[in-house]
Symmetry: C2
């Protein structure tokens, strides 16, 4: 199975970049994982938040293929414990899904078109984190999921 | 009101340090905030996880004073949305609490003595994050809480 994290907008420099690079490196021991970045919408600052969400949705749709099993990372999604999330990943592997794609929206989240089309939603926290920070949280949990599935100690540092 | 985040064990270098420093700096505009680090227990590797938790609890208790209003950050705690968490902080200010202390346990969490003594528990996520990562998540949420209370835009970068 391939796993992809599809995100809107460049990862900001500093700790978000560092953390995502660190966990991406670690994940390579377990799974074919990559982050795919949809470039920021041009002239975003001249658009309203709903216009921006619409533009971003069009871009997201262009980055998805028919074979992808899509899961949105959304505050309103289903909450999992880390063990339940690990079981979810295992289940998808057992179902012979080839491409599992998790999507983080832009700064204002997803527009309705995306939400209606893709109904699998996972919430990492009831709290709102920035779309940048969610990258770090997701990827840490994905790494943790594999350490759980492989019954390996989690390396904290 | 003073707010303190009491943590067990040095903050690891790299993105955890960077992120906590960054948000601590930002928080200074809003509140008297600090992180207090309880040094790692000596010879921790020779102890069982329950012995280590016990030692850490003794150290935690030494760092708490009678005036502190204590909240444990614990997976089993109450979940808040970011807005609810902001209201919670506002409420504590309204109650004229002088010192609000959030505590993150060590790598294995809190021992029973601490859990029984302090029953205010907040959970940032149903998922398990490392005690290092929780520092980043908490401090980002505390910063977000103040931007919500002050009705200021959240700065992502």
């Amino acid at each position: 199975m391939n796993i992809k994290l599809l995100v809107v907008g460049k990862t900001v420099k500093g700790f978000v970049s560092e953390a995502t690079e660190e966990y991406t490196k670690r994940l390579k021991h377990y799974i074919n994982f990559k982050i795919e970045v949809i470039q920021d919408v041009k002239n975003a600052s001249s658009l309203s938040s709903s216009q921006l969400k619409e533009k971003e949705s069009e871009l997201i749709l262009k980055h998805i293929s028919e074979e992808d099993y899509i899961i949105l990372l959304d505050e309103k999604g289903k909450e999992f414990s880390s063990k339940e999330f690990a079981s979810f990943i295992q289940q998808k592997m057992n179902q012979s899904i080839k491409s599992l794609v998790f999507i983080v929206g832009g700064a204002f989240g997803f527009d309705e078109k995306i939400k209606q089309k893709y109904t699998n939603k996972i919430s990492i926290s009831r709290m709102t984190f920035s779309h940048q920070m969610i990258r770090v949280l997701f990827i840490e949990q994905l790494y943790r999921a594999f350490t759980i599935l492989k019954n390996e100690p989690y390396h904290n540092e």
